[in-house]
Symmetry: C2
DNA sequence: AGAGAAATGAGAATGGTTCTCATTCGCTTT
DNA sequence: AAAGCGAATGAGAACCATTCTCATTTCTCT
């Protein structure tokens, strides 16, 4: 199965299904996120689009994509928002943040380990009477480059 | 072992070791965090101290306590900073955030499960050449009250 | 070509957090 | 007890990321 344009196509379909337009700005953001090694901030994206999208429009683009569940937003360790493609487009994964350089990158946790995480999470939910809908696991440490 | 004032005493000692004063504002914050069921925001703390500490002082107090590693700060799902006692004072734990009411509470993951998490985290670090220093596991779901 | 809905761009406004600076506090030394 | 002095405080300004407003522009469908 071809993967190069899957996210782009899926995003277009999703937006069209909601009768929204797949405009150049929306397309650019999806394209950039598709090829990024980790979640990007609004500031990162402004740089990536080379200023072609004004800030106010970029934020609006991001919130449209978030509302349509093409991307997800979450705060990085400093509280600034970072965005990445939703998991139905990229698969489930976690993050590791280098405490030296600050970079956050994706970690596609191997299936065997992810299964173990799922079991733990489910068990915790059971023990604490909490109906678990999802989880986030973030590793903090030092990346290979910074060593 | 008495636990009621352990955090307070430990915090005092830590600050004094750094030749800083254990002032009323600093004491209040530690006290409040010690008795809170989960991480608190600056706004929460202002309410908890009943306005006795002005905002600018509260933030300064928080950063002093953070710098001296008595508390830790991290962003909640909306990006606003939340604070809790450092793990050397409370023990390792995780969080669960209710996607209905937004409350975040502590989850003292049972030792057996935590061991499993540790193993997974270590294994991921090994596989991805990442020197793991710590981890955060956040559950999202619906709490008992909201069901 | 024209109408109407959707999207855009510029800038103002907001909210959380940090900074500045003059004042006050609390030890320590007389 | 008073002076000296660094630490801490309080008020408000400043900052920065993000959101909002609104007039203008662009699509899409006739």
């Amino acid at each position: 199965m071809g993967q190069r344009n899957d996210a782009l196509t899926a995003a277009r379909r999703r937006l069209e299904a909601l009768q929204m337009r797949f405009t150049p700005a929306r397309r650019s953001v999806v394209e950039i996120l598709e090829t990024s090694p980790g979640p990007q901030s609004a500031a990162d994206l402004i740089v990536a689009v080379e200023g072609a999208v004004p800030i106010s429009s970029l934020y609006r683009t991001l919130s449209v994509l978030e509302d349509s569940e093409v991307i997800v937003r979450f705060p990085d360790p400093n509280g600034v928002a970072r965005y990445e493609l939703a998991e139905w487009l990229t698969g489930h994964h976690h993050h590791m943040t280098c405490i030296v350089c600050g970079a956050t990158s994706d970690v596609p946790v191997p299936k065997d380990l992810e299964t173990a995480v799922d079991n733990i999470v489910a068990e915790v939910g059971r023990r604490f009477d909490f109906q678990v809908a999802g989880h986030r696991l973030d590793l903090q440490g030092v990346c290979a480059q910074c060593r």
